[in-house]
């Protein structure tokens, strides 16, 4: 429990750091693109919105930087992320709230699937190699390692384009974009089917590009564990291969792999942005692209903040889960 509290305190501190970076970013950029944007929007947007935005970005204001900073913290903590320019007069928070469930669903599903598939393949590769005899390379391992490396080197947007062309466009098995059939409600059965139908290709792409990391991490960890004395002892006892692989080696090898979840999520989220763009999937990544194209800086800032906070919370949850999986962490914090 003490460990969880300590991690929670770390979460709060990192969230504060993320907020501060988000505040500083537009002020640090050269050439002041924000001012250019204001010049462009002058007259198109109501003066009160302009002055509210100017406050948010610290332009034409008599408040000092420090005052602006506290105003910003106060606004953000009360859920006020500002007003979007390109979707005027929608609030940034509302826009993100509409897009977030799409992204979370896709990322969550693909991450779990990639973790399960990847670690299983990695385990098999290491086991086959560990038992193939030291002089002989195992075919499974020889194939799986370059395969994992290749998956990690694939440009996500390109895989998305290729799947979109061959599977969705040429064969017509899946829709070529969007998140739902027009007019379909999620509550109905046909709406649900349409939801899955639209999410399938983006989910497959995301699973593919994030699986390589798990294969390689699991394989290397498992190889390390297979060299440990207790595995040799288990073998000397005459335990069956199956028992050694699953109950002895894999269980210990998977823990350090699991602790890399935070790093992996960063990669998945990056791939997600591009995949949503290619499939016109109505999530955060697609919204980010719209914000970039329209030079909608308030929306960009808000999206970046949400990305950061979501990742922080996810890695906090992974850490908490880790405590339940690994008794050593519990013991350490009890000291």
């Amino acid at each position: 429990m003490r460990y969880v509290i300590r991690r929670f305190r770390a979460l709060l501190i990192t969230c504060w750091v993320a907020l501060t970076v988000n505040f500083a970013l537009p002020r640090l950029m050269p050439g002041n693109p924000v001012e250019t944007m204001f010049a462009r929007y002058q007259g198109k947007v109501s003066p009160s919105a302009i002055s509210a935005m100017e406050l948010d970005f610290g332009l034409n204001t008599k408040t000092g930087e420090l005052g602006q900073y506290f105003d910003y913290l106060g606004h953000t903590l009360t859920g006020n992320l500002g007003i979007s320019f390109s979707y005027f007069p929608s609030h940034v928070g509302t826009l993100i709230g509409e897009a977030l469930p799409w992204t979370l669903g896709l990322v969550g599903f693909a991450t779990i699937l990639a973790f399960l598939l990847g670690t299983t393949l990695g385990m098999v590769a290491a086991w086959r190699r560990g038992t193939a005899g030291w002089r002989r390379a195992s075919l499974v391992d020889t194939v799986l390692v370059p395969f994992g490396l290749m998956l990690g080197a694939l440009p996500s947007f390109w895989i998305a384009l290729i799947l979109l062309y061959f599977i969705a466009f040429k064969f017509g098995w899946f829709p070529i974009g969007g998140g739902l059939n027009p007019g379909a409600g999620i509550a109905s059965w046909s709406g649900f089917v349409s939801l899955i139908h639209h999410a399938a290709l983006p989910a497959i792409t995301l699973t593919l590009i994030s699986m390589g990391l798990w294969i390689l991490l699991m394989r290397n960890n498992m190889l390390t564990v297979l060299g440990d004395d207790y595995v040799k002892f288990a073998r000397a006892k005459g335990l069956r291969d199956h028992t050694i692989a699953y109950r002895y080696a894999a269980r210990n090898a998977i823990l350090p792999v699991f602790s890399q979840l935070a790093l992996a999520l960063g990669i998945v989220v990056g791939g997600q942005v591009f995949i949503e763009i290619v499939f016109s999937y109505p999530g955060i990544g697609y919204l980010l692209l719209q914000a970039v194209y329209n030079e909608d800086y308030p929306l960009m800032q808000g999206i970046f903040l949400i990305f950061t906070i979501t990742l922080l919370v996810a890695s906090f949850l992974a850490d908490v889960l880790y405590v339940f999986l690994d008794p050593r962490v519990r013991m350490e914090s009890a000291k």
């Binding site: 750091v17 440009p155 947007f157 290729i162 960063g266 763009i277 990305f307």
Partner: protein, 277 residues
Amino acid sequence: MSWTGLLHNRRAIAGALIFALFCLVALLAPVVVPYSPTNINFTPLLHPSAKHLLGTTVNGQDILSQLIWGARASLFVGLITGALISLVQLVLGVFAGYVGGVFDTVASAVTNVFLVLPPLPLLIILAAYLRGGSLLELIGVITITGWAWGAKVLRSQAIALRDRPFVQAARITGESRWHIVFAHVVPNMLGIIVSNFFGAALFAVLAEAGLEFIGLGNINDVTWGTMLYWAQEGDAILLGAWVWLLVPGLCLALLGTSLGLLNFAVDEIANPRLRRD
């Protein structure tokens, strides 16, 4: 680590061969391109033929010429960014870990801040603030977003080496800090540094292509990323111009795989437990 190990590692050889092939193509690009990559006077959307081995784009450019020319940008960005990221990691990771004290505290704090920020969204936003950048600007942005993780790993390695007897002996003989770092600490963690370099280069190649694909690079450059940008803009999917979509990404994936193979192989040689005896 032993460098001769690389010559006996099949993954290292495969990675190095593919990488060398791309380097060769990039260096000889002006000689081997069949046409100028910026020539737009060909019949648009030709299928692959003897005159245009990979066909032409919707804008009437020769795809093979563009593909060959594009190798230059990717290799340039990959190698330069990889080197820059390694340099930053050397200073904020290895050197900071070795000297400790205030410098280390500040360097760690900065590293931890960057670790918190998701790299790709940060990359997109920084590039958006630049409103479309040249290759050099993209290199700068990618360096800023891509160094933190490796620096953390290298720092912990440097700390582990700091109190080893041979480093202490060097300190007692009065050698300067930088000399100790370069002559004693770095050679003993060269495996991780080199493998990090290839990892950083891989990240840079993919990041550059991704930014260019969504139009945040200079769209008039001829690179694999901008080729895919124009393919997307030119409705290559609806027109069925699949070669145009396929080949730039295939090259990216191949170059990326070669960097990944090198990264993995060096790591494998530096870490004896992964090696086949």
